[in-house]
Subunit: 324 residues, 2 copies
């Protein structure tokens, strides 16, 4: 935590203002909604998406208030999707705090997510840039499309191909990273080449970040990650470490049962986790994440040098060394 806080110190004041914007804009008569939004914003998170957005914007002379709106829109879109996801997955905790659906009805949870989508869209319009607003709508379609694909593909019941996995983690994570970094550049009138570099940075960092997330599901300490080991596989989702293991040892019965949504015991899960760890597949997945992160860092060379670019480089390094 202190390591990531250190990396983000350059934008710490910005993040405070971004959080203020995330809490703002709720009509006075909606006091209950205000308290729930305060709760969600207070529950925090690493704020990596708004931090990267602000760093991208600070590479250039920037209208800081508009950049705060952009960053707040990015983080609220993220928050809105999490609110609906937690309801869908019936998750009880997120970041160690009870989710909305623990104390709220599904109705209130659905509507709160909807409200946050609207508020995110509204904040995106405060940038005054139609291209940015359009990008937000597109990103939401990509994120939701990815989730729907996953739901519908339950019928296929196979370990995903590399291409399917890439599409999934792009939709889930990298797409919104690009919205923030590319959006920051567009807002500041960066050149086409630079906007492309910011996209490449966000894309590759997001892909690497999600692979690490998927790895932590196998490697992490349950306490720290805040969910059971191999949580994805327990839900029938095979991620990169499983995919690599499956290439070496096709048709392992536990993996087949898991992706077919058949009942798998806790002992079977712990056994396959042990096998995957021992096989070197987690390390192989880590190498893939590192490759993405190095590509993200390579994209930075096309961008203006200075403390913000250095911080983006350091965050990329942190992404692959983090342990939660």
């Amino acid at each position: 935590m202190s390591q990531s806080a250190g990396l983000l110190s350059l934008v710490a004041d910005d993040i405070k203002k971004v959080e203020d914007k995330m809490r703002s804009g709720i009509p006075e008569r909606h006091q209950d909604l205000q308290s729930v939004v305060d709760y969600l914003v207070g529950a925090g998170g690493k704020r990596l998406r708004p931090a990267l957005t602000m760093m991208a914007a600070h590479l250039y002379p920037v209208d800081v208030d508009k950049a705060h709106s952009l960053a707040a829109a990015v983080e609220l879109l993220h928050t809105a999707t999490l609110v609906h996801d937690d309801l869908i997955d019936n998750a009880l905790f997120r970041r160690g705090m009870p989710t909305l659906n623990v104390s709220w009805s599904p109705a209130a949870t659905i509507l709160t997510g909807d409200f946050l989508f609207a508020r995110s869209a509204q904040l995106s319009t405060e940038t005054g840039d139609p291209q940015i607003v359009s990008m937000f709508a597109q990103t939401l379609m990509i994120i939701v499309g990815g989730e729907l694909n996953q739901l519908f593909n339950d019928g296929h019941k196979n370990v995903p191909t590399d291409e399917e996995y890439r599409q999934r983690i792009y939709a889930k994570t990298a797409s919104l990273f690009t919205t923030g970094t590319k959006g920051g550049g567009i807002l500041c009138g960066a050149s086409d080449l630079e906007v492309q570099a910011l996209y490449d940075f966000g894309y590759n960092l997001g892909m690497g970040f999600q692979i690490i997330d998927d790895i932590l599901d196998f490697r992490g300490d349950e306490e720290q990650v805040g969910k059971p080991l191999a949580n994805d596989l327990r839900q029938g989702i095979a991620t990169l470490p499983v995919m690599i293991f499956n290439r070496q040892h096709p048709n392992h019965p536990t993996i087949l049962k898991a992706v077919r949504r058949e009942r798998v015991t806790n002992d079977e899960i712990l056994d396959i986790v042990e096998k995957i760890r021992a096989s070197g597949c987690v390390d192989a997945a880590l190498e893939e994440a590192v490759r993405y992160v190095r590509q993200a860092q390579a994209a930075l060379t096309h961008l203006p040098a200075g403390p913000y670019r250095d911080a983006m480089h350091a965050i990329a390094d942190y992404t692959v060394t983090r342990d939660f």
Copy 2:
């Protein structure tokens, strides 16, 4: 049906193109999503919102393709909120056809609604007008805010005040009517006075339309309306006929029990429906709706004369004479 179809014949070709746009824009790999959107669009509805949007736009020389995008965005926003509402209310039928949640999981239903929000936002950006895009985000906040208010206000458990009722039907219906009509004017570069008149038309027509909807809940034939009599009151929602009755006969036990969400028998409901009908309160509510509709028609006088304005006038008349 034929009466409303006749009134809409002026924009029948437009509506076909609007429906095409509503079905479009779904990535090819999402075939399941495509079929569900086709189903939702095919399930129809009166298409009053897109029709009014197109008529407003046709008052002026218009970029028709952009107007179709605007009208499709309006109707998809409406559709998205209905998809979530039906899930929240656990409704099994809408317009005589099974709702999504009958055959789909809550997860798929939530995500389909989210996708439609995103697609609506994207279509609104196709107008190329930041003010219109911003208005969509604002409208979604108003609609969802109104629903949340209703959920949270369950705690108050009173017959609503006139002001609370006005706020509710504005959020539920009139707000999106104004988005369509005002949006049509903005898109065509109408003058401020005309944009205001289009807002006033949409607002007053929407208010009148919703009051009629609330009246039909008491007056209608169950078969034709497609839901049980006094469905709102059964769910604890007191609408204008009940509010007027309550002024004349305060503290009727059935009404008190209903708004307090206590158990009310079917016989008690049928008895109070009979009393409300006999009291003249339904007619008094109708007078209120007619007042709104006349104000809508008065606003039309500030707009360019011609067949489209005449059609808008006729639709307003139809609104208060319709029986479903």
